[in-house]
Amino acid sequence: MSAIDSPAMLQRREVLKRVAWLMGGAVSAPAALAILQGCSAKDAAPAPGAAAKYKFFKGAQAAVVTAIADAILPHTDTSGALDVGVPAFIDLMLADVYDAAAQERFNKGSAEFEIAASTSGKAFLDRDAAARAEFVKESLEKALAAPREGGKPFILMTRELTLLGFYTSQPGISENMWYQAVPTAYHGCVPVAQMEKPVYWE
């Protein structure tokens, strides 16, 4: 609620009022686009990773999830999960969006994940990046091969949230998809060859 009444939002309202007035006149869509995009860039939320305090994670969970997210989407020549604050995003999703059953499944699964790593040679967090990635990949393979009982297992939950957090962040979208705040029109049949990146999903 507070976001709606923030000064930034009020300012946006003023801008929009002007846009809407102009729309009745002859303002071009690209001009409106510029106004709106300028507006949203200014208002873009800070990366959620800024806060180190977690709402849901306990014990080593934050470190484990951070390592898994980094293994799945590392920083390469483009942004990675940790650049956009995916661990904090996952923490918030677990705390505020997931229900009690999913939370419990996550907690149970994260403990099992750590035990599995330890019993197969070395504690997960004591491994180097390559070994962590290898163990994450093995865990994914096992989870995908196993019969599914009562919802997604921990490693697949963490993967899903990693992808969701990253590919809904500004760098995740703008570096990997063609997102237009104001596309102005829909074209139903466009050769992919004309598109540098896949169009932003809805």
Partner: protein, 561 residues
Amino acid sequence: MDSNTYDAIVVGSGMSGGWAAKELTEKGLKTLVLERGRMVKHPDYPTATKDPWDLPYANRITQETRHRKPVQSRTGYPTPANQHWFVDDLDNPYVEEQPFDWLRGYHVGGRSLMWARQSYRFSPMDFEANAKEGVGVPWPVTYDEIAPWYDKAEIFAGISGSSEGLPQLPDGHYLPPHDLNCVEKDFQARIADKLGRKLIIGRCANLTAPLTHNESPQRGTCQARNMCIRGCPFGGYFSSVSATLPSAERTGNMTLLPDQIVYELIYDDAKARASGVRVIDANTGKTTDYFAKVVFLCASALGSAYIMLNSVSSRFPNGFGNDSGELGHNIMDHNKPGGTSAQVEGFLDMAYTGRRPNGFYIPRYRNVGKDKRDYLRGFGYQGRAARANFARLNDSTLMGDELKKAVREAGPWNIGMTAFGEIIPDHRNHMRLDPVKKDKHGLPLLIVNAVVRDNERRMEKDMLSDAAEMLEAAGYKSVTVKSDNYNVGNSIHESGTARMGADPKKSVLNKFNQVHACKNVFVTDGSFMPSFGCQNPSLTYMAFSARAANHAVEELKKGNI
């Protein structure tokens, strides 16, 4: 007292109330519009220009929202981008004797802000069905009588679509149609060829081109953002907030009061007319009476019938205008028993740009022409084809650069569609007032009891299997039928609670939406529908609201009301 007296009162500011307000004020009536929820003004829509990364929780419904809005959350709608348009269920309870999804928003604009904008005419077949089949009561209005009002509604609102010459789905006045994408065109050609079925682009209230009139200077064209449900600062789709209410406002004849809960019609025994309405202020609890020569109830099918049932007098001991005993009965919606989807191979060299606020439509073909089924009426499909997004890689082992590379390539095509089936009126499907339980304003709770019955159940088999048949005939793979446990109301098309008819013994309203027994009260929301077709109903509400308002003005001039 004078300051509380108007020529007309309109209860509700959504799809039908906006039209009533526009028509009444343009004809010179001083009109009071009473809205139970908060004020919304174009173009102040708080989330309308938020980019995906501006929305918390990746725009997923939170547990807090599920707690406060358990009914509204039965749909996927109350996300952080939209949840402010959906009522707080804890503050606005009702009693479900049978599961009933009452999805609604209490604010100026009502559901005209959140609607899916699909805009179809009912056909002569729909207006004639009850009479031919002996179901419910015959429509007292023919297609030819309402057609000019469909014209008016389409031209003012701005409906995009294609003319097809189908008798079961009459053509209207259309702005240019949206494109079908490559896979939708393929599907269109294949089901026409193999099964003789027609697929068209949806007809929707989005401005694919400028309006053909100059009455709405505040509206611009659709920008293909597909964020309509948040409210559109461009005025790219029709809502009462963007279109009809600004027209009413410009006349200088409208007074719009938010936060005013109308709970009762005041009946004047001596004059045998309604003299006005009683209102509770949603914030202060203060009650006020407002008076007018004519009252329009446009508070939604359950909302308007609620007010009428709660308006008891010596003349109307069973609810206002309820001589027939049909008030609150015959609740309909559109049956939606599930969805069907498939994977489409190929077309990987083609995609689309922009976000289309629309999909394809397969008009009703069952019980049309020579087709005869073991049930009455029929259904239509709404769907779309799209390329899969990154979520297709949730259950994969790709990592690092391989994963990033895969996401940067558009995924395979998939296609999905949902059937909307006609529900026939049944007296047993009803609402009434709880004799004991009250809400926080001290008003009786609404009880709803409506289910789908034999005819709908028989139709469901075709609704699900025909979709699979079409997708298979098109050669698509992994055809999946997902049957849903549909609750009445879930299509957000609840209707029928004060049906119109020629016979006052069997209906509540006459052919001009006037209460048979009290001619200065009009009900023009979904309440009036004696049958429901399988088409989305809003355009029909617009047409009947405009026609009723014009009739009211004529009758006032003649001194008949």
